[in-house]
Symmetry: C2
Subunit: 226 residues, 2 copies
């Protein structure tokens, strides 16, 4: 990573909730590491389209600020438009429901990163293999090394794009309900309902006789096995 | 709701993974009911911006197909552009990590709805109050009725927009790892790690002496208290 300090440009500077803006690049990288799904925004057919997608991050990748990798079918409708424009990738984790004494101050605790930039199609074979391994490892750390290498046919069917992490901003809300002076005169309960993602026990496919790998058990436990 | 059948237009018809397309409008409404966060896509400054946001749905709302409500500060940067263009609202829930014998078939189980349309600014006072109550109740069913009504000042600070649910599509992936004929010749574990969102025990604010309301306890339990 180029710097510990996030340097949002005017277009990644939040217009609202500036007090929720996070300046520490380590927190951005931690969020990108925690989250499993990104939402990709592209303009296609004259209107925005937002699609959920897996992703991976290489802080030492060749793009300015590090590389955020997305992959998809070479036939995906979003791919060609995405390569001809700036795109936006947003990653959000929900951390809690915030219940105040007024509806106005009801809120959610969350962490959200917004990355804007011109994507680069990854054509170098080694980088493509590495990016696809990173996408697998993002979901299940250590998994890629246990799998056979991607075949030529698989690689031919899969497009990989890289987005520079240079132009990124992060917002975060933590804590309990915001309190207006007048709220103390109100009655009623106020508080926080923390939420988080958990995994339940891995389910083995019928055709598999191998035991559940240690790294899968560990990941499920890390995600807070319910 | 106008129909049980989803009728995607060309721009909401997925170009890939058509086998994952969901045709039943009840499943769309169930996903919109389950999810807590939407991702709003607008074009602002010549590029797409994707922002996480709370939302609510009124299946019997005045818009074609029912109404999806978003709210925000009247000073939010996305608001003015959003009212002059078609926007996209995407709602995604992650249900599992799918681990195959090949990297290529690694995937995630998810449900995702994509709604595209021209938003309408909600100006009618009654509808605005109702929409804001629905946003609170979406997060915490039954909560709005226990709160004081929004003040004029709060209403003046809050914009509400409605998106018709007419042009919506939904995709879903369920089940275990996809199996290519050749995968049976491979070795190694394959399976599913189910994931879901859970709540932990509500945390009461220091200044509150009331007990945690029954509806908050019920909601936390419904979300699968960990």
């Amino acid at each position: 990573m180029t710097t510990q300090q996030l340097s949002p440009t005017p277009r990644t500077t939040p217009t609202r909730g500036r007090n929720r803006q996070v300046e520490d690049r380590r927190q951005l990288m931690a969020l990108l590491s925690d989250a499993l799904v990104a939402h990709l925004g592209v303009v296609a057919g004259g209107h925005p389209v937002v699609l959920p997608t897996a992703f991976a991050v290489d802080a030492a990748g060749p793009d300015d600020g590090g590389s955020l990798y997305l992959h998809g079918s070479v036939a995906a409708g979003w791919l060609a438009p995405a390569l001809e424009q700036d795109i936006c990738v947003t990653v959000t984790e929900l951390d809690g429901l915030v219940l105040a004494r007024t509806g106005f101050h009801h809120s959610m605790n969350y962490r959200s990163a917004v990355v804007i930039g011109r994507p680069r199609q990854v054509t170098d074979l080694e980088e493509r293999r590495r990016a696809l391994d990173l996408v697998v490892d993002h979901m299940m750390p250590g998994r890629a090394a246990t799998l056979p290498p991607a075949t030529r046919k698989e690689l031919a069917a899969t497009a990989v794009i890289a987005l520079p992490l240079a132009e990124a901003s992060m917002k975060q809300r933590t804590g309990g309900a915001s309190l207006e002076p007048g709220d103390l005169d109100l009655t009623g309960w106020a508080g926080l309902v923390p939420v988080r993602r958990v995994a339940s026990a891995p389910v083995t496919e019928d055709y598999v006789s191998d035991p559940v790998p240690e790294l899968v058990l560990r990941r499920a436990a890390e995600l807070g096995q319910a």
